[in-house]
């Protein structure tokens, strides 16, 4: 009896021990793998969030390892809850040497002490290749470089040519009024088959932004994300015309039913089935319709419409960050060599030609051929595409009190209301939050009285 009791107690302790040990099992694996690497080899761990290009990256890693037999790179795609995974990795001293970083996370990760600056490692030649596209709080923090850009999201109005022809429309809309009218015409001829004029993935906060940002940035010159660079203040009035147009589309019954709760993938699936006349998205769409949702419909894409047909600014290109180096890395020199190679014109040209994205690096954009993917031609850089400076939007929303702008705007689009009052309230609250964010040192973005998005025209094409 006594022996049994002690055996049970021992078993319980073993179980508890194994549970507690779970936390450190990765570490043990890492050590074991390190042990597996050939003697004298430097082991690098590389984390990415991108699944779509993982085959290409793995191929490039093999190539690099072939050129550098003394380096062994372990590549992991950590697609889900990436930011949390990175937080945990750094707090448990298991951080990767090289990591993919999103634009919005650069200042935060620098402040958390995760990232090593490139300044000590980057050569003047390499720096000069990127100098024209480096952006404060996207690539640099307090004047130091922490990541460099590679590809960009080029935003377009994507439309179903078959539905346009059926509705008797010959050209994609160039003004908001035309967009509203076209959506109405498409719905009139398509509704019986379940096809509607316009759709948006309004389940996510990005639903509104996917439509409003391209239209507003190409129409106006003062800023983006609601931030007016000229005054250094938030002014959501920049979205007024776009919001009114979207409200009109809902009132006309030309917005696809269910858009309020639509995700981007179900939206794409519906577009591929010919149920959507128009929607807005970026340069990843051709590869989506090639692999994820192969479609029989004829589709095309065009520059976003503007408020009055005038292209005063540039359609925002979301870009800015790609690879970063861990401050905790024990092999920074080796990690940098690999990063440098990944950013080389050769690798980045192969990346674009492989169809994984459209490069914003001028030397690559000039040399790389268009990828062999149907529809990519609509998304290649034009004079009217440009990278905006970073706004303090993320830092501000981190201090915001009350309803976020995405909920306010979505509510207006689907239920109406006093738009001027809503905009005024948003301006007051966001500017109060901005003041707090500046006081707390969350952002260093300042007013640029001379800013004009018109100056960004032509910045991504070498003529």
């Amino acid at each position: 009896m006594k022996r049994n009791q002690w055996m049970l107690a021992g078993a319980s302790l073993l179980l508890a021990g194994s549970l507690a040990g779970c936390a450190s099992s990765n570490n043990t694996n890492a050590e074991a793998e390190e042990g597996n690497a050939a003697a004298g080899q430097t082991k690098l761990v590389y984390w990415s969030i991108d699944r779509h290009d993982s085959d290409f990256i793995e191929q490039k890693i093999s190539e690099y390892e072939g050129l550098n037999p003394d380096v062994d790179i372990e590549f992991k795609v950590m697609a889900d809850n990436y930011a949390q995974s990175v937080d945990i990795a750094f707090s448990s001293k298991q951080a990767p040497d090289i990591l993919r970083v999103d634009t919005g996370n650069v200042p935060t990760w620098v402040k958390k002490g995760y990232l090593e600056s490139f300044d000590e490692y980057i050569t003047p030649e390499m720096k000069s290749r990127f100098e024209s596209i480096l952006i404060n709080e996207k690539n640099t923090v307090d004047g130091k470089i922490y990541t460099l850009p590679n590809i960009g999201q080029f935003w377009r109005l994507i439309y179903n040519v078959d539905l346009f022809e059926k509705a008797g429309i010959t050209e994609p809309p160039t003004t908001l009024a035309e967009m509203v009218e076209d959506a109405k015409k498409i719905t009139e001829v398509g509704k019986a088959e379940g096809a509607y004029g316009l759709a948006g993935n309004f389940k996510s906060g990005s639903g509104f932004e996917r439509i409003a940002h391209p239209i507003t940035t190409l129409s106006k010159t003062e800023g983006q994300e609601g931030f007016n660079f000229q005054t250094g203040q938030f002014d959501f009035g920049m979205y007024k015309e776009t919001l009114e147009a979207l409200r009109q589309i809902v009132e006309d019954g030309s917005m696809m039913p269910g858009s309020e709760s639509l995700d981007i993938d179900p939206l794409r699936a519906q577009f591929a089935q010919g149920k959507i006349g128009m929607y807005f998205n970026h340069s990843v769409e051709p590869s989506v319709y090639k692999t994820q949702f192969p479609t029989e419909i004829r589709w095309a894409a065009a520059l976003p419409p503007t408020i009055d047909g005038q292209q005063n600014g540039v359609s925002q290109v979301i870009s800015g960050s790609y690879l970063a180096m861990s401050k905790d890395s024990a092999n920074k020199e080796a990690a940098w060599k690999f990063i440098e190679w990944m950013y080389s014109d050769d690798v980045q040209t192969a990346y674009q030609e492989g169809g994984y994205g459209v490069s914003v690096i001028p030397s690559v954009a000039a040399a790389a051929k268009a990828p062999d993917i149907a529809g990519i031609e609509y998304f290649l850089p034009t004079k009217f595409d440009g990278i905006y400076p970073a706004t303090p939007f993320g830092a501000t929303e981190g201090r915001l009190e009350g309803t976020k702008k995405m909920d306010v705007f979505n509510r207006y689009i689907f239920t109406g209301g006093d738009l001027d009052k809503e905009i005024q309230d948003l301006n007051t609250r966001y500017n109060a939050a901005l003041e707090k964010a500046v006081a707390a040192g969350d952002t260093t973005v300042e007013a640029q009285p001379d800013f004009s998005a018109a100056d960004l025209q032509g910045s991504l094409v070498i003529e």
Binding site: L13, E260, K275, D442
Partner: protein, 298 residues
Amino acid sequence: MNGTKRQINAWTFVAPSLILTLIFGVYPVFWALKYMFYDYQGFGTPLFIGLDNFERLFRDKDFWHSVVNTFIYAGGKLIITIPLSFILAVVLNRALKGRQLLRAIYFMPTVISASVMAIVFYVIFNSYNGMVNQLLLGAGIISSPIDWLGAKYALLTAIIIAIWGAIGNYMLLFIAGLQNIPEDLYEAASIDGAGPLRKMWSITVPMLGPVLQMIIMLAITVSLKGYESIMVLTEGGPYGKTEVMYLYLYKLFFPVSSGGSSIQQFGYGSAVGFTTAVIVGLITLIYFYVSKKLNDIY
């Protein structure tokens, strides 16, 4: 066995779960109790701000709106789930052919993850090609698709999904309670001429008293804390119409949606966490006080 040995044995058995509870249950509570007085976003030096987070919380209409949504969600779920699972338990506690299979079928949703459940229900309820609309349209009950996940019906849809997911679980707990009622009480009542309804009201319900009290308490706390399926289904939208307390809290610690800030708000989140815990605790206490009679009857 002497006293010391007995103590050692007892502590040996208690220690593993106690250690894990202290690390993963108690420590985070103390952590939150500290940081609810700080301005802290997960990096830099936390700044002591006294009661500012609570002042903000009382001004925060979105939070109180989520509290109201939580009450509607939990109330709607409980009002349907408890009677329905009780009736099912009574029916499936009888000598019914195939009752084990039926019990298993009703219990099935309990073992399915809330997120998976929500994805499946998204396919069923979406307005453009969802099965519910197709069935209703086919039967001529509706003339145009209903936007089940839109502002008007999204909370109702979330309640329907919650009911579907919970009935089997509470049914099983009721069955366990029913099986503890001595059969001779029913036999004596039958001899006295009591009908099925009389037996249900005068024997089953009172004899279930303490079990019923526990089941309802469990159902209240689980419903007030539920958010997982809503997070997958609507992320709290459209524009906050399905935002519930714990989803609101979760988003402060782990921002989920693209298009918003990805900055964590540990300080304010801790204050919200403390307040939600107090709300759930108070409701549970009130329930215990009100339901004291359920315990007395037995």
